[in-house]
Assembly symmetry: none
Homo-oligomer: 350 residues x 2
């Protein structure tokens, strides 16, 4: 049973963990090299003094681990220790070079964050339904792993276990490469005439949002994982070169774009693994309270599970278009059922 937790690092991740633990009645205390940061965070979470923590969490950049490991181990030699950094092989190396026995250390990485850093960006539900990767070494004790799993369960995260090197290769592709891509694109806007930027739409904004991330933090992450990242950048460089060469061929451009649609579809939306191809059922409803409830009651009545939903309307309109995302089987059943009972259902899309 987790009763007392000590968190080293009062930034976004550390403070968010502390908020959630505190809300669950677990004693928590944050320490930080900046006492101002520590005070703000401890105030925010209603922290209390932690005498003998079951768990010590290193919630700071991986490069800062060597500065704190030995001291923390000396303070609480019987605790379990974990980190939350982005590059797992490096965290393990740092621990192996320290006095902290590797058996007591669990390397982890929560796949959650915000572009608002620090304690002020913290929120207790930051980890709810997010993947939280564990990359335990073979030496790790079952007790240490159980303690960390209990923490993640309390925070609402979903544990995914994989080897550290596999994790580092994966984040190079799904986290570090998008960061570089966004920065590259945003950086090029510096060459645009000002009038040009007035045409900026949502596409440009979304594609460059993470270019706002903290350069000091991210240069460390990218530098640490540069071997994996370099290979991916070379791959991207080659693909871009190929596109430039075939820019006079409309079919080649279309095939390139189709590759993007295919790749995008691989990102898990709901039930994980490969995203399901949903069938979309458009229904025109009156835009007033009760209509959606009525639709969902019909779904429940015939045991249809709605995977996702979009609602398209705006103030002043008298009707709304809702589009339900369903399995193809459910879409057919529901379409027939709703039509039978008098709803304005349009033909199934794709």
């Amino acid at each position: 049973m987790l009763e007392q937790v000590r968190i080293v690092g009062a930034g976004l991740i550390g403070t968010s963990i502390a908020l959630a633990l505190s809300a669950h009645g677990i004693r928590v205390e944050l320490v930080d090299s900046s006492s101002a940061a520590a005070n703000l965070a401890n105030d925010l979470v209603g922290a209390s003094h932690v005498g003998s923590p079951d768990l010590v969490i290193f919630a700071l950049p991986t490069s800062a681990l060597p500065l704190v490991i030995d001291e923390e181990y000396q303070l609480n030699p019987n605790s379990t220790f974990m980190d939350v950094g982005s590059i797992k092989t490096h965290a393990i190396e740092h621990v192996k070079s320290s006095n902290l026995p590797i058996e007591q250390f669990v390397p982890t990485h929560p796949m959650a964050g915000r572009e608002i850093g620090g304690a002020r960006g913290a929120r207790a539900d930051l980890f709810e339904v997010r993947t939280w990767v564990l990359t335990p070494t073979p030496e790790c004790t079952p007790k240490a792993i159980a303690t960390v799993r209990e923490l993640i369960e309390i925070l609402g995260g979903q544990v995914l276990t994989m080897p550290a090197d596999e994790h580092d290769r994966a984040v190079a592709r799904i986290s570090h490469l998008p960061q570089i891509s966004a920065s590259l694109l945003a950086s090029s806007l510096r060459k645009a005439p000002p009038a040009c930027l007035e045409l900026a739409g949502q596409g440009l904004r979304d594609t460059t949002r993470i270019a706002e991330s903290e350069p000091a933090l991210w240069s460390e992450i990218i530098f640490s994982n540069r071997v994996e990242i370099k290979a991916l950048l070379q791959e991207l460089h080659g693909e871009l070169g190929g596109l430039i060469e075939s820019i006079n061929d409309q079919n080649a451009i279309e095939n390139f774009l189709k590759g993007g649609v295919e790749g995008r579809a691989l990102i898990p939306g709901k039930h994980g693994g490969k995203a399901r191809a949903y069938t979309h059922l458009p229904i025109v409803i009156d835009d007033k309270p009760g209509q959606l409830a009525a639709i969902f009651n019909e779904c429940a009545a015939i045991h249809v599970n709605v995977e996702d939903l979009s609602i398209e309307h705006s103030p002043g309109q008298l009707s709304a278009l809702i589009t339900l995302s369903l399995s193809s089987h459910d879409a057919i059943s529901l379409s027939k059922h709703l039509s039978d009972v008098g709803w304005n259902v349009h033909p199934i899309l794709k």
Copy 2:
């Protein structure tokens, strides 16, 4: 005074225009080569027959213009005509090769869109506070321009006038380059091991969102504007090559990322992007049929109208995080009501 509008093309843009006009009491009719698409759109907007339109809007890909211009001009020789295509120099060329007098034609481009195409993605507020570019030729009559300006004003758009070639150069950078960047990144995901994709976070999702755009439509846009685009791709290719060469230099990486922060800051965010200020209410539910119905029944019971909804799950989990978008007043009422009756409601976001 705009009284009757005919829209050729019942896709996202045409149907969104129609929705807004209809809400303003202006008679509108959509026609489309697909009668299913036209029926869905006309049903959605409450269209009525338009006998003699003041304005005919070509809301279809620029390459399809030659297929409809002459027939539309013959039907309504006294109307004003406009298009909404992405490449203005080409639209003007098509009209100059047709029977439609160039004086009656206004080339335009609304800077608004969604990755959900077709009538089902349409929304009446799609153009609210968005830039809408006009690239009138010197021959254009003041009456034609006034008619189009009236339309844009009704739709809540903001008129920006510039020469057609300048427009085409600008969209290459702020629209077509982001599209290619997103597709390039998304496309590379096809090489990722499946387990890797389970780590996907919001950064990857945002950066690749527009990779879902329609390849047939976008290959035409990119091909049409390939001269402008090629120069930008070569620039990007060079920058990427430079980053690869300096990947062992952490300072160089940090400078590269700072360039991204600077470029991102140039996007006019505050007045351009943000249109719909909803309050977001996160609720954790069991992921099984009937749960959404139950939530919507609670909404109906206290007369709360849900504006939009997102559902978020992770691999293998038993619960889902749903976020309802509501007016701030409704959010407060619903939050209290749901908590009172035992739902797991989280604090209101922003």
